[in-house]
């Protein structure tokens, strides 16, 4: 037993000296939000930001290209001088679309990598899990990749700004379009069982009335089978199905219905209406046939359109993204990155977290959407209106109808796309 006690003595000695050294040399970590002069993540020549996004798991196939596209835009921007001489470093962390992972990776980004801001964190359930955390730590939480209305609470969450059009707006626009173009048809809805689904239902009922939806079915992302829900919608005699689904489940819903020999009209939220991604899921042979006529919403330049933005983004994609397939996600990722660059430019020569937030809340950012941005002191929503898109012969483009929600009512408005300026490099 003498060896035993020797080992213990050594262990005790080592432990005690470790504690003493630490107490002498190491101080308590500074409380977040202190008045340090050093701005986290900003040095003389770099600004480091981070994001959480699914690179693995059920949602990865539909969305992993977004962060790649944003990274490509930042590479383009850095090659063109960056913002105020700073290059932007974009740290992408995989959360597998699992809220529990999101909490870990976002803490890692904030505390370990010390990012300046979180940009375009993806997903309603995932980002909800870190919303409180980011605001308590006063980390700018910009342009969340989700249309939940949770992000638009300036009083409660002053550091969070959304990017997608509200799901309420999307639901209302799709339902209004259904009522305008296909009067008298039976409209139903398939929705994710979280805020995404809830808010799309709220929007659709805004346009159609409280009993306007003939049937509503819900699905859960963890269960890759929607046969029961599709069967129920078919049995209810639905003719137009509004989808509050992410890309993978849009494809699953349309594919499952086709297997049942049922071909209703599909109206999908922009979050799940990316044509190229859907073809990837359904296969090159039958995908285009099943997706012919798919109605969706969008608020960014459409991949099938001829906007100058699309031309520029295609060039960037070829040059900086190894010519990855160019689709709606590519445009989305680059648009978000562009908007962040614009915000950072507006935040001044020596940006702080506060000046970045002020720059966004000033309402002066232009973005590149088909409607003006809605940011302001009392609005943290990016787009309160959307254009309707449709797929025709494999090309997804705007059909012209554009709707906005104002004061609880849906109205048709005229699109007013933002023109490209300065080769897509803010401040040049």
């Amino acid at each position: 037993m003498s060896q035993h006690s020797l080992a213990r003595r050594v262990a005790a000695l080592v432990g005690t000296s470790a504690v003493l050294v630490a107490l002498a040399g190491c101080s308590t970590p500074a409380a977040p939000g202190g008045t340090d002069e050093v701005v986290p993540g900003v040095s003389d020549d770099t600004a480091t930001i981070g994001t959480h996004t699914p690179l693995t798991g059920p949602a990865a196939a539909g969305y992993s290209s977004i962060s790649a596209a944003a990274t490509a835009y930042f590479a383009y921007l850095n090659d063109n001088g960056g913002i105020h001489g700073r290059s932007i470093e974009y740290i992408v962390k995989d959360d597998g679309y699992n809220p529990a992972n999101t909490q870990t990776v976002v803490r890692e980004l904030v505390q370990d990598d010390e990012v300046f801001a979180i940009l375009n964190g993806l997903g309603t359930p995932t980002h909800t899990a870190v919303l409180d955390y980011l605001n308590q730590n006063e980390v700018p939480d910009l342009f969340v990749a989700s249309g939940s209305t949770s992000w638009n609470q300036p009083e409660k969450y002053p550091f969070t700004f959304g990017f997608n059009a509200d799901y309420v707006v999307e639901g209302a626009a799709l339902a209004q379009y259904a009522a305008d173009e296909h009067p008298g048809k039976v409209v139903c809805l398939l929705g994710q069982d979280d805020d995404f689904g809830d808010e799309m239902i709220e929007g659709a009922e805004l346009a159609l009335g409280a009993d306007g939806l003939a049937a509503v079915e819900r699905y859960s992302v963890s269960n890759q089978d929607v046969a029961a829900q599709i069967g129920a919608l078919k049995a209810a005699g639905c003719e137009i199905n509004i989808l509050a689904t992410i890309n993978g489940f849009t494809a699953l819903a349309i594919g499952t219905a086709a297997q049942l020999g049922w071909f209703p009209k599909w109206f999908s939220s922009s979050s799940g209406a990316n044509y190229e991604t859907l073809v990837g899921y359904l296969g090159e042979d039958i995908g285009p046939k099943l997706l012919q006529g798919l109605v969706g919403t969008n608020y960014l330049p459409a991949s099938g359109g001829d906007s100058e933005w699309v031309t520029l983004f295609r060039q960037i994609n070829d040059e900086y993204n190894d010519g990855a397939p160019f689709d709606g996600n590519t445009i989305y990722g680059m648009s978000v990155a562009y908007l962040f660059a614009e915000a950072l430019e507006a935040a001044g020569e020596n940006p702080t977290r506060a000046s970045l937030i002020d720059a966004v809340a000033s309402g002066d950012l232009a973005g590149n959407g088909v409607l003006p941005l809605s940011f302001g002191e009392d609005s943290h929503a990016a787009y309160l209106g959307v254009g309707i898109t449709a797929v025709d012969q494999g090309v997804q483009d705007y059909v012209g109808a554009t709707y906005a929600v104002d004061g609880g009512a849906v109205t048709a408005v005229d699109p007013s796309p933002v023109a490209l300026s300065g080769e897509g490099v803010p401040g040049s």
């Binding site: 060896q3 262990a11 190491c26 995989d94 809220p99 505390q111 409180d132 963890s222």
Partner: protein, 372 residues
Amino acid sequence: MSRLLPSLRGIPRTIVLGAVLTVFAIGATFLLDPYRNFQLATVAAYFCATAGLTLLIGRSGQLSLGHAALMAAGGYGYALTANAMTDAGVTGIPRFLAGMLAAVVVSAALGWLLGLAAARLRGPYLAGVTLTLVIAVPAVASVFSGVLRGDQGVQIAYDGVPPVLERLIAVEQWQAWVAILVAGVVVTALAVFARGPVGLRMRAVRDDETAARLNGVRSGRVKVTAFTVSSVAAGAGGAVLCFATQSVSPGAYTLAFSLLLVVAVVLGGLGSIGGAALGSALIVLLPWLLAAGTAALPLPVELAQRLSGNLSILVFGVLLIGVMLVRPGGLVSLRRRRPSRSSGTATAAAPAEQPATTASPPAAAAAGARHP
């Protein structure tokens, strides 16, 4: 330790030891930066569950693959109660205690029911039942999505640092303190329980159920008790995790995680509380170290994406096979030069000694390596 406190024996000794180690671990939080403290809080939460699991498997001989579900039960119990208390205007420590109480009650009830089934099953059948439970977690959350909020899970209000300590410590450190305190209380209670008469009966039932029954031990009752106690520990772990992350969702309690808990206790050493501490530190730190390691290597994006998440599973598998070949008693048996006869004092002293030397130094070493 027996040299330091020769007069203390039995249960008082376990309690003193538990208290000393808890204080030591709380002191160690001063060495760590916020992210490391968050990891330490996670380790402490997992430690509650693995300590309960290692006693269940190692001392009573019942295998549970579903401890993640019991943690989830505790987490949801805590979250729903905490939200109800917030609505009623109660905050701070009373809210925390009420949440913990609910977590313990909910997980105890679930564990008791499961234990009733478990006492009648053995081997693969018992494993099957517990496996079903954890597979059902996402389905239960989505069926009762009105209350449990589906995949999104339940979010709770945030508990800041109490005003007295605000100038002294950061919020992550405070969360680590709470997690360590709870783990200290739970694990000490488990150690006392395992040393007591029920612990003795558990071992009798494990070694030979027939012989135990001939000696008047009611084996069914012993098994159910063991299961219930083990679930309370898991539930407390789930509640602490919910406290530290302000949310609970089915994604945190997957089948993979549940199996990882079993891997942790087997790697650490079945039946040993020290082994459980070692195992829980491993399942938190190893994936993170591997991710940091692969990120530092100049790997092609494709390969890096493929390795993400999968590499740690591979390493756990290799580690498990390696440890079982070399040291069937688990990592904790590495420090014993000779295979000691399993006399009561030797085994109880060794496991109880372990937590401080395992839970904090790897984290401290990691912190030191990254922030020289």
